[in-house]
């Protein structure tokens, strides 16, 4: 018996590039190898390592929903060596993908519940996968509320989808931008995410909250949810520690006894409360 | 027919003097050997020693560095700074056993088209006689399991 090379990526062709916000892009990736495309499967919440050949690998979530077959999508901001090289790619170029890795959002367990999504800035992509997954299975859930904030109007990602969600009557979308980030024609709210949530005052009854955003947003939103009566078991988030392997070996994402790449990236607040705050 | 070794030479030259000088070589129709690849930088002051290391690691057998004569720098003193750096760099490289014979420094002004041709020919002939920089190429390949 010989082992497989677990570090070999799938080859993916870029099928579509969407400019989301300044330096933020979404790639739609299709498998070069047809058999890989057939056998590939993932669940919402999982992530992968995307490679720009020549520069290396970088970790992002899979931002598309597993209900949409035949492709995966990722959204990234250009900040470093790999994302910089990815940003230079064009439709038709080849990139690498390893995954899917990590645990999942247990949406089957949420049947019959209300869902509250709270996202900030570039952290909407991991929740977007869940949102579409849940919208495609809309009758599983009761009310779906999405609170999304960014620094400025330009920094809001998935602008077309935000419009679509806004127009659906089975979704309650609340968009907000930080004070000073609004444009003259901005019709959404102005204010930081935590006070917006506080004012919105969603009911904790039979509700699952999914929170994802920059550390400061998460830090300030959690007390608000606690005040509203959400229990630590009903609050989910997804972490993204630095990773090199995604396989529970390289040691970077080690937080307490867990590996974010294996035991995460999805954690409940209750689980996080039992981990050292090294994320 | 036995194949003769043709050295690969990377030349780092400044924009204002040597590049213009090399241009003059061409417009004056002076022929010289084609072994040199010219990389133009704003000033000799910009030629970081890491560029030289990169040239060797990417397969150069020799390197030419050339810019404005002292006192002629477009930026007043870039070449003076460069000169200091090379003075130390050569000592260090020699101590580490790097073949400094393969690195040629020169001042070639925008008017010295003939000097450029002469310099390239001379360096090419010398490197052809020295042969490929085998030691360095072996080092580049070593140490990976």
């Amino acid at each position: 018996m010989s082992d497989q090379n677990i570090y070999l990526p799938y080859l993916m062709r870029i099928a579509k590039i969407t400019e989301e916000a300044p330096n933020v892009r979404t790639f739609r990736l299709e498998f070069v190898d047809e058999t890989a495309a057939q056998s590939f499967d993932f669940h919402t919440g999982q992530f992968g390592l995307y490679s720009a050949f020549g520069e290396g690998e970088s970790t992002f979530c899979i931002a598309s929903s597993p209900t949409r077959k035949g492709y995966i999508e990722c959204t990234f901001r250009e900040v470093g060596r790999v994302t910089g090289a990815l940003a230079d790619k064009e439709v038709g170029d080849i990139v690498g993908f390893r995954g899917p890795y990590g645990n999942i959002f247990p949406i089957e367990q949420w049947k019959g519940k209300n869902l509250l999504f709270i996202a900030g800035g570039i952290a909407l992509p991991p929740l977007r996968s869940v949102i579409w997954n849940c919208l495609d299975l809309r009758d599983w859930f009761k009310d779906i509320t999405i609170v999304y904030g960014a620094r400025t109007v330009a920094d809001l990602v998935y602008k077309h989808e935000l419009k679509e969600w806004e127009q659906r009557d089975d979704v309650n979308l609340v968009c907000t931008v930080d004070p000073g980030g609004e444009t003259p024609d901005w019709t959404g709210k102005v204010g930081f995410v935590p006070p917006v949530v506080e004012k919105l005052a969603p009911s904790p009854d039979n509700t699952i909250a999914l929170v994802c955003g920059p550390p400061i947003m998460i830090k300030l939103t959690l007390p608000v949810l606690a005040k509203l009566g959400f229990t630590p078991e009903s609050i989910f988030t997804t972490l993204e520690n630095r990773m090199k392997c995604g396989l529970g070996k390289c040691g970077r994402c080690n937080t307490g006894k867990t590996f974010v790449c294996k035991d995460g990236p999805v954690y409940t607040l209750d689980q996080l409360n039992h981990l050292p705050a090294e994320y | 027919m036995a194949e003769t070794f043709e050295p690969k030479i990377t030349a780092f030259v400044c924009n204002w003097c040597t590049y213009a000088g090399a241009d003059l070589t061409g417009t004056s129709r002076i022929k010289y050997q084609p072994n040199v690849r010219v990389l133009r930088l704003p000033c000799t002051g910009r030629i970081d020693f890491m560029l030289l290391a990169k040239a060797f690691s990417r397969g150069s057998d020799g390197i030419i560095i050339s810019g404005c004569h002292p006192n002629d720098c477009h930026y007043t003193s870039g070449n003076y700074h460069a000169r200091r750096r090379w003075m130390v760099y050569r000592d260090l490289m020699d101590f580490m056993g790097i073949d400094t014979e393969r690195i040629t420094f020169s001042w070639v002004s925008a008017a010295e088209g003939a000097k450029w041709a002469e310099l390239v020919n001379e360096v090419t002939n010398k490197l052809r006689a020295m042969g490929p920089y085998v030691e360095y190429k072996e080092m580049v390949a070593a140490g990976v399991e």
């Binding site: - | 890491m50 002292p70 003076y80 200091r84 260090l92 101590f95 580490m96 056993g97 420094f105 310099l119």
Partner: protein
């Protein structure tokens, strides 16, 4: 006054928050001690085993948080502190160097000028063992020297103990950590090691205070300090200035003289 007594006095008077010196460690070794109480000051020792250049700590953020600090200093430590002042990494008032003589008597050097004057009494010398190896290497053929260094550097594991121990390697973001572009290969294969040590020596030319701590720190005993020593000697021989001589020294490679003498540029 002896070190323990002086340290106690400085701590009790509040003149400093900590005294950085040495205590007894494993296997008879000496290791750094951050004495923050009079009681801890009682553990301070001073002898020939106290070789480490403690100036490497004064730029570390965790150490800076302790507050003003007295530093037990050998001549190389004093040179490093002056060089750090020249490079504007520390201010004269941030540290209180305590120069110690062979008998263990302490002199407070409260100003850069006092350090300079003290250093003027201590001729800077490369240790005989290092000088002997440098001379032996210079007497070799170039190919032999290359083979020597390749053999030595093949043991390098790029743990960066040399960089971490160096008082002048304080950069928050070292060239080695820059990756856009990735100039120096990160892996410790032959090329990665060669380029790393070239870069380090070049970046220390005119700045190396020749304490030799990089070589002492090396877990696989590569005489890596000889590279920075050589670069520093080259600067000294050609431009007539040595790192750590004064708190007002210009960096040798960011200045020039029109009549700098060389013989190799055509």
């Amino acid at each position: 006054m002896e070190l323990r007594e002086k340290a106690k006095q400085l701590l009790e008077s509040g003149a400093v928050k900590a005294v950085l010196g040495f205590e007894a460690g494993t296997h008879g070794r000496r290791r750094p001690l951050f004495a923050r109480s009079a009681e801890a000051a009682g553990r301070l020792v001073w002898d020939q085993g106290c070789e480490q250049n403690l100036a490497s700590y004064v730029t570390r953020k965790e150490v800076k948080r302790l507050g003003r600090m007295a530093v037990a200093a050998r001549p190389a430590t004093l040179r490093a502190l002056l060089q750090l002042m020249a490079e504007r990494q520390i201010k004269e008032e941030d540290v209180l160097p305590l120069a110690l003589d062979d008998a263990g008597q302490v002199t407070e050097l409260a100003s850069a000028q006092a350090i300079e004057e003290r250093l003027a009494l201590e001729p800077q010398q490369i240790p005989a063992k290092d000088r002997e190896l440098m001379d032996r290497l210079k007497a070799m053929s170039r190919q032999e020297r290359f083979a020597f260094w390749q053999g030595e550097l093949s043991r390098c594991i790029k743990c960066y103990a040399c960089r971490s121990s160096c008082p002048m390697c304080y950069c928050g973001h070292c060239t080695m950590d820059c990756n856009r572009p990735q100039w120096v290969p990160v892996p410790s294969h032959a090329l990665g090691n060669q380029e790393y040590h070239t870069v380090r020596a070049m970046h220390l030319a005119g700045r190396c205070v020749q304490c030799g701590d990089c070589g002492r720190a090396c877990p696989v005993d590569i005489p890596i300090h000889l590279l920075t020593f050589t670069a520093e000697e080259s600067v000294h021989a050609q431009f007539g200035q040595g790192a750590g001589a004064s708190a007002k020294l210009d960096y040798a490679l960011s200045t020039f003289r029109p009549d700098d003498k060389e013989s190799f540029i055509r």
